[in-house]
Amino acid sequence: MSLRSRIFTHAILISVCFFMLLPIYWVIKTSVSGENLFVYPPSIIPADPNMFYYVEAWYTVDFVQLFSNSFLIATLVVIVNLVLNAMAGYALTKHFPGKSLVMSFLLMSMMIPFHATIIPAYLLTAELGLLNSKLGIALPALSHIVCILLFKSNFEAVPSSLIQAARLDGLSEWQILTKIMIPLSKPAVATNIILSFIWSWNEFLWPLIVVRSPDQQTMPLGLVSFLASFEDTTGSLYAFCVLVVLPSMLVFLLAQKDFIRGLTSGATKG
């Protein structure tokens, strides 16, 4: 690539980044300054940055309860997703009668939006006696078809001779999955962790329907009740938003390198 085209590409990328990061910057700026969005003239640098609004947000709602609920549910979702999706993905790399039927069923399921199945999902959760519980909130998110397919495509890229060698070495199918396939599919694992964590962390509608008591509320529900309780809350609201978003951003940043590899391998070998 010539210098001129490199400069051109970078200029475009930097300007796109600028527009994408501006709202995030604005949220962070407001969370430390409490300045109203419509202040004129708008200031780029916060006048008197401080952590007051974070402290206020922390004490206004039961932050520790909300955070630990969300964190426990997200952790459960991530672990169960990893186990179930890897197992399903590995099974789908094998030949078995009705495999194409299973694949079509999975793909068709992806086309149905969650909102369309929310009533049966609610009834099922109620039947299981899991309403108003963390397990009930986690239940519909315990496996994601996208992640199953991601594991499948990653596993298919592992040479079959490795699996055969492992079989001759005396490994069971479960051991082949855990000792060979998963360690060789780090991008899929990273992608699975990020997607299931973020989806679980950000989920609003399902917890809203399932949860009745405040002690089971998650962060997004807490945000709504936070909004409902106060009138002039600009600074605290933005501080709370930052606290809600921060964990999922951290998880993403920690695993983003493998995440991008996971998504691209899924796209090309799909």
């Binding site: 040479p159 055969q164 060698a165 492992a166 001759l168 070495d169 005396g170 490994l171 060979i180 060789l184």
Partner: protein
Amino acid sequence: MATVSFRALVKAYGDLEVVHGINLDVEDGEFVVLVGPSGCGKSTSLRMLAGLEDTSGGDILINEKVVNEVAPRDRDVAMVFQDYALYPHMSVFENMAFSLRYRKTPKAEITTRVMEAADILGLEPLLQRRPKQLSGGQRQRVAMGRAIVRKPQVFLFDEPLSNLDAKLRGSMRLEMKKLHRRLGVTTLYVTHDQIEAMTLADRVVVMNNGHIDQVGTPDEVYKSPKTLFVAGFIGSPTMNVLPAIRDADGSVRVGGADGFSIDRSDIPEDAPQNLVFGIRPEEVFVGETILDDKGPVVTAIVDVVEAQGPDTLVFASLGGHDLTIRTRPDVKVKAGDAVQVQLNISRSHLFNKETGRTL
């Protein structure tokens, strides 16, 4: 160590049968090479023996015990794959120790066995490296080391040298031969390279189209091929083949009108008229290598001369049929020459043209 037997072994994928009821007995400690072109069923047979493919018919016996239903890990066989199949996320040591760990071998013994194998194969300096940090030859040795540490009853090799360059292949062949002599483990080796087959094997099994065409020592399959296919597949350059017609008086006319006649009254009377005459390139003499009593002398036109150093290949035309001659480098012939060539009849072969089998 163990004996291995195939009894009417069949493999079919749906309606397509790829191995047609083959029979083979491998003796204890023997080095047997299955050789044949791609798709002849040699790898499939090996994989059935390893338990990586189900059999469709017949039996596989290891030490006289039918193992058709025995899981791969319980057959006590170790396999070296064409692509080595080293676990990329493990070091050389871990790769070699891996199978022992899952067989509940004590830690101290694992270390001893891995170090022993590393010593045999010269892998000690590489034990902490990952496979991607190794060269092709080193990876090949690690794959062999992984098989050795298990001390299996049978070694299986599935084209293990085909990913190496020619020079390395030569030296690895030698190492494998030495290793077999040292360990004495029954070995089945699959290759499509007839030089590997000839140099490594105690016995060669030539497979064609899902059948075994011939089983014999390298010398036997080279000097006394049972079929036209074996004659053509074993040896480089391949055996010269010329059309031949059997006459009523017991003589055989080779190479048409410009050819020659040979006396073969020993041929059975029910043999067909249309035959194929075969002779190895080194059994055709040219120039000063012609001797008085070896066989008929005919004229051939030289097309191409290839000097290969230790010997020279002369590609000629005899009555419109291709004839390859391997001769000494000091024999001077050049393209376009009409030269006298002599065929060593005592080392020639006649095949039934229809069945391809030797007479």
